[in-house]
């Protein structure tokens, strides 16, 4: 009987070496492990596990020109406490505040949340509306590639990452315009320690009477988190009257494709996604 193998590299280079040394390459890579540990008894006894959360180069938050660079192994609580994030990316703060518990936020990382590729991943919807880019390192080619976050996901818990590739950096463009509206709300099953039934992230710019542009992403209501582009297109340039809001609700209902599972039903997810959009647009009007 084989036994479980566990590696914990301290540098990206070490990671590359460990990876190269493993023959069958059926490797589980994690950062934080707050999801993995809960299901640890389901792991195969001969699993090969690499914990990348000890790689120092993958930690930290840096402002570079008009972008914020976040190391993928930065924990959720490090993000919450960061003045840079608080000042420049408030939508991410709003999202992280709703996630898990203090203890879990101390361990869970932003890269882990993204790589887990859950449609209910709560950092993902804000990152998608922010048009975030992801830096990926490949141990096979020893190279780094950069992709838009929206192209990372290929299905629930599935990504376009190649074997051994790890997310190393999250790059968020900053908007010079200061008057950006942002909205994040998730609906779960209780007030804390809860998995999203449906969520909505939005950023928008409005002039005196009209919405100049809006970017929307819904969580937990389609196989992957994606932009609600038809709804965005419809709202763009319009004044938010009750009629417009109602029409927008019907459009977003058609853009999503939720399922019924143990947490909620398809019909309810459609209903609350419409409600979330109304809640968002109402907040936008009140502003």
């Amino acid at each position: 009987m084989n036994s479980m193998q566990y590696y914990s590299p301290n540098t990206i280079n070490e990671y590359r070496k460990i990876y190269s040394g493993i023959a069958d390459k059926s490797i589980l890579i994690f950062s934080g492990g707050t999801d993995l540990m809960v299901g640890r008894h389901e792991l195969s006894q001969d699993a090969v596990i690499i914990d990348i959360s000890g790689i120092a180069e993958l930690k930290g938050i840096v402002k570079k020109g008009d972008k914020i660079h976040i190391g993928s192994c930065t924990t959720l609580n490090e993000l919450l406490c960061s003045h840079k994030i608080q000042n420049d990316i408030p939508i991410l703060i709003k999202a992280i505040k709703t996630m898990a518990s203090e203890q879990i936020r101390n361990r869970a990382t932003i890269g882990g949340n993204i790589g887990n590729a859950s449609p209910a991943g709560d950092t993902i919807t804000p990152l998608v509306v922010l048009e975030t880019k992801i830096e990926i390192f490949s141990p096979e080619s020893n190279e780094v590639r950069t992709i838009p976050i929206k192209t990372l996901f290929s299905g629930p818990s599935a990504t376009t990452l190649e074997k051994g590739e790890i997310i190393i950096k999250i790059i968020i463009p900053l908007r010079k315009d200061e008057d950006i509206f942002c909205y994040f709300r998730k609906i779960g099953q209780r007030n804390a320690m809860t998995i999203t039934k449906a969520s909505l992230s939005a950023i928008a710019k409005c002039s005196d009477t009209k919405i100049e542009w809006i970017k929307l992403a819904s969580g937990s209501v389609s196989p992957v988190v994606k932009r609600m582009s038809k709804t965005e297109e419809f709202i763009k340039g319009k004044k938010l009257t009750p009629v417009v809001i109602n029409e927008a609700k019907e459009i977003i209902a058609k853009e999503i494709s939720p399922i019924t599972d143990i947490r909620s039903t398809k019909a309810f997810r459609v209903l609350i996604t419409k409600n979330l959009l109304k809640d968002c647009l109402s907040a936008l009007i009140k502003r």
Binding site: Q45, M193, I195, F268
Partner: protein
Amino acid sequence: MNKHNEIRVDAASKISGIERYTKDLRIKNALVAGTVRSSRAHARITSISFDEKFDWSKVTILSAKEMHNNFVAIIKNDMPYLAENEVNYVGEPILLIAAENETMLIEAKKHIEIKYKELVASTTLKVAVDRNRAEDLFEEILLENGEVDEVFKSADTIVEDIFETGFQEHVYLEPQVVVAIPDGNTIHIKGSMQCPYYVQNAMNELFMGTEVKVDVTQIMTGGAFGGKEDFPSLICGHVALLAKKTGRPIILSYNREEDIQFTTKRHPSKIHAKAAMSSDGKILGLDMDILLDSGAYATLSPVVLARAVLTSFGCYKIPNVRIHGRAVKTNITPSGAFRGFGGPQSLFAIEMLFEKVAETLKIPVWQIKKSNMLSLGDKLPTGQPIDYSYGLPQCVEKVLKSSDYEKKYNELKKYNENESAQTGILKGIGISLAAHGCGFTGVGENRIKAIAEMELLSGGKVLVKTANTEMGQGVDTAYKIIISKKLHLPFNDIIIEEKNTSKVPNSGPTVASRSTMIVGKLLLDNCEQILDALSLNHFEFSLQDFKKAAKEYFKNHDKLVVQKEYKHPNFIKFDENTYKGYGYPVYSWSANVAEIEIELTSYQVEVKKFYTAHDVGKAINKQQSEGQVQGGIVQGIGYAVYEALCIKDGEVQNRGFRDYIIPTIQDIPEMHVDIVEDAYFNGPYGAKALGELPFVGAAPAVASAVSFAIGKTATKIPLTPEVIATLIENNNYEH
């Protein structure tokens, strides 16, 4: 006796982490046990095959074929330890495996294949009821009083509806865990359990006709709520059988996933209730049909149903009553004991029936409840007079005051009419009255004949011998307070004997909120027996007097052991055929007010405030009593709002805390608890039941507040957002 706020005797060991639970026991040479379970809800087992590629000499397998007395001794003896030919629920144990370690256990399981022939399964209560088979009826009860048919013919208004409550999981902190240690012809069983003598009895039946002797010891238990009342008998049998077969100690511990899927749950209910009303809001008749989903085996269903029937008329004076109750078999994990024990189901129905009456007659619900509430001296439909220890009127007075119910009722009505459209939040205030029969139902106590024992030790200490277990509820501390007050002994001089069936007498199970009231009273009697033996006046003596008298006593005697057996006062009689007489020797009462909000984007019910007043006769430990009440409220809020067990084709879908949602500290309200003490003449210092009552009244108060907020009667719990959306938006969001 003054109000007591004693620090619990188990507090330091638990907070510091030195307390040892069953999994902390270090047992040399032990094997770990695992269970091979049915994957079918109802089927015939056609074959069991063991893969030749696996080395079976490394593990021990046990099947039903090797067993003689293959039934778990609980009421109907219908549940096998291991299924032999037929399985009746998904997860039913078929084989047991003992292995050197967990890994080998998992590996062995992978190499066993069981084939089935599917049989018709009742995977919902509705299917079972529609099949209408006599053999599916575990119990049927009819309680009738007065002229029910007449009064329904002549009543001004008849109000009726169907009320439903869901499954509930106990969610004790410590999952099920037991061990068996063979020792010659004896097997020592230890584990997390409420009732060592229930296990002892089951083991006696299991090993009847063999040389095997068993003793049972309760190890510090991390929560139970009824989940460790009947269930441990099954798994103690499993470890005992494996210990006998292997000759080695056996540990069986469920992980949370196994525990949530395959251990007992609260019985779901479907109750059709009808009220005959006069135009001024007096209830003239009640006709109720109670269905309980018992799951695959009877377990304690007959007694759960009995309590459901005897709780069904709530705290009201109802002259004409017909209560028909049935406990029905389904092919789902068996339902079992759970805090409240049938009471929460039927109390929900009667309270929400009054809600429906108020909605129909357009009379405020409190006005209806108040005008029908029992008065001192009134009789229950069983004929039992309520003429002592009736503190409900005081509870009502206190809770109306603390909550400012009537003022808020009017304010919130106005708010919902004028402001809720603007704020997107509906608000509600609800009220419930609850009764809980204290101790066992009917003749149960006379049948159990509980015995408590106390021994005077040299040095003037006492050794307390009961089988009543500490599972977090504070019974050890309560007993020390009761004894300390009587004998003037400090806590250190009062020693609680290990809950081991070879050391303590059978003082009955730790259930039915009976430990303080029944056994606590026996201990007080024991104290008096000791004082008599020492020739001390019962009231006027000091600690020094006691110590001196004890010293004197041992000059002439070897030992002093006193025993007392419980018997109901003579006038407390109950007829099990007609359900007439004293269902319980006394009742505890509560009045509850809940304030809730429903946010219309999410449809989440949030309980903002909860006020309650509990008449418990006497609070032996005041702070602990308040803690019990708060815990019961939180568990009741979970039952009312959050906790949804999802069953698909008879199989529990939930796997743990991530998908079985209980309230967190962020979800629970500000709570205001008042304790009322209307003494019970036959309880220690007047104490009666407390443990279950806080749970019973909570859900109806919350559902009443929800009904207020949405303007129609909420007829089922849990009131999840999907259910609330369905009620508000008139469209089905539940499926």
